[in-house]
């Protein structure tokens, strides 16, 4: 997948301790949500895996039924595909919206669910699920966050986004030994020889940033033209003209060499043939691709990469686990956001019965009850 520029958001620590808050600026207004950081235990009513549009809307429907939600997403920002893949694309089939940019739909959903104070566990992948003695589910993330709830909604869309790895035979052998698919900590490149591959925005942005950090920096791209933001392209070209970096176009990295760690990158040039570059780090930046990931091992009935559900309430074959949105399948399934919204709504009805055994649910329209925190009649 191609990565488009992220939304404007930042994560700021609130105070000492393990809590931080997530801030979004939208139409000049600031929205903030609790964001869990590493090594934390969270108890809630519904664990929602996937913070895309359907996962976000599930918070709203759950909130109407007074259930709290914790959203988990491997991406560092909410919105799923809409934020990660096509933020600037208009969507025309959201009822009541004659046209809305994907990024704006996400921001509107965030605004809509803010009154229900969802928790966010972002940048973490849900890896295991286990039933506890008390009947509740425990989900553990790859960063050790432990989430406990009677109900799980899987709203995982296409799956977990993972970096696309170039087809180089021994690339996995050099992971953690000089090959990185993300720049997590720019400081590890200080005074190092770095080779970046790719021609999109992230390759250009990191080339510009690391030009002043690395000892030597080479950018390798398959074509002559770069497709990133014009401003970035000009900056990179200027860096090359002034000798700060090297650019090799019409070339691809085809091999990696080294003993205990990366030492050489093998480059295949379209016309000049093969040559080697000394390198301590190779950073291929070719975007992200979704994979079903660990969810595939949770004992759920899966058909062609999608989770089978009962259309009565979008429950899976495992009681207490529901699947909503693009990740589920049933006869007549359409992968549409609007269908996911419907699925989330019905799933919440059954989730209520599980989270509140013995309690009766009375259905109420929002026009009757109103929602604290959302605009009132006078403000609309």
């Amino acid at each position: 997948m191609r990565i488009l520029p992220p939304l404007t958001h930042k994560i700021e620590p609130l105070s000492a301790g393990n809590y931080s808050r997530l801030f979004f600026v939208y139409s000049g207004m600031l929205y903030s949500f609790e964001h869990s950081s590493e090594q934390k235990s969270i108890e809630t009513d519904i664990i929602i895996i996937g913070a895309g549009p359907v996962g976000l809307f599930a918070v709203f429907e759950a909130g109407l039924l007074k259930m709290r939600c914790q959203l988990v997403d491997v991406l560092s920002q909410p919105g799923g595909q809409l934020t990660e893949i096509y933020p600037k694309k208009p969507i025309y089939d959201i009822p009541g919206c004659p046209g809305v940019l994907a990024a704006d739909l996400v921001q509107n959903l965030l605004r809509q669910i803010e009154p229900f104070h969802p928790g966010f566990t972002l940048g973490e992948r849900a890896t295991t699920v286990e039933k506890q003695a008390d009947g509740r589910w425990q989900v553990v993330t790859d960063r050790g966050t432990v989430l406990t709830a009677p109900v799980i909604f899987i709203a995982g869309g296409l799956g977990c986004f993972e970096p696309r790895k170039p087809p180089i035979d021994n690339i996995e052998q050099f992971e953690e030994k000089g090959v990185e698919y993300f720049v997590r900590n720019p400081e590890i490149y200080r005074n190092q020889r770095v080779v970046i591959a790719g021609g999109g925005d992230s390759a250009l942005d990191w080339t510009i940033y690391l030009a002043n950090v690395a000892r030597e920096l080479t950018l390798i791209h398959r074509r002559t033209e770069f497709r990133g933001a014009l401003d970035s392209v000009e900056k990179v070209q200027h860096l090359a003209q002034t000798g700060k970096i090297k650019i090799v176009t019409n070339a691809q990295v085809t091999g990696l060499q080294g003993n205990s760690k990366l030492e050489h990158v093998v480059v295949q040039h379209d016309t000049e043939g093969e040559f080697k570059l000394e390198a301590d780090h190779f950073v291929p930046l070719f975007g992200l691709t979704p994979k079903l990931g660990p969810i595939a091992e949770w004992g759920l009935a899966v058909d062609k990469g999608a989770i089978e559900v009962n259309t009565l309430d979008y429950s899976t074959n495992v009681p207490g686990i529901f699947a909503i949105g693009d990740i589920n399948t049933y006869p007549g399934k359409l992968k549409l956001i609007l269908c996911g919204f419907h699925e989330a709504t019905l799933a919440c009805q059954s989730a209520f019965a599980i989270a509140n055994p013995g309690k009766k649910l009375s259905f109420k329209y929002t026009t009757v009850t109103g929602i604290d925190g959302l605009p009132t009649t006078a403000a609309l």
Binding site: Y86, R164, G200, H221
Partner: protein, 105 residues
């Protein structure tokens, strides 16, 4: 109806018959015949899971900026690389011959 030949990743040719009045694209056609084409992004030129090599000399629509940008990030790209989702099936494409690019994901 037109016929498109798609060579799969095991080098097996498949002759796919298709109408041209439904606005189908090549990715959708491959999926409807259950060939191993994912079409993950749904046809927005944003994933390259429908990457094909065009083997015949048919007059194809020019690749858009979006398609070029995606091919920039794809692997195993050659001069005859295209994204199937960007090739709309028209009468002029009768006899088109394409090969599925290796699965890079």
């Amino acid at each position: 109806m037109i016929t498109i030949t798609v060579i799969d990743r095991e080098d097996q040719p498949h002759a796919l018959e298709t109408p041209t009045d439904m606005g189908l694209n090549l990715m959708e056609l491959c999926k409807s015949y259950e060939l191993p084409v994912k079409g993950t992004c749904g046809g927005m030129a944003l994933c390259a899971s429908c990457h094909v090599y065009v083997l015949s000399e048919h007059p194809l629509p020019e690749a858009s900026e979006d398609e070029h940008a995606m091919l920039d990030q794809a692997f195993f790209v050659q001069n005859n690389s295209r994204l199937g989702c960007q090739i709309r099936l028209t009468d002029e494409l009768d006899g088109l011959n394409v090969k599925l690019a290796p699965d890079a994901e």
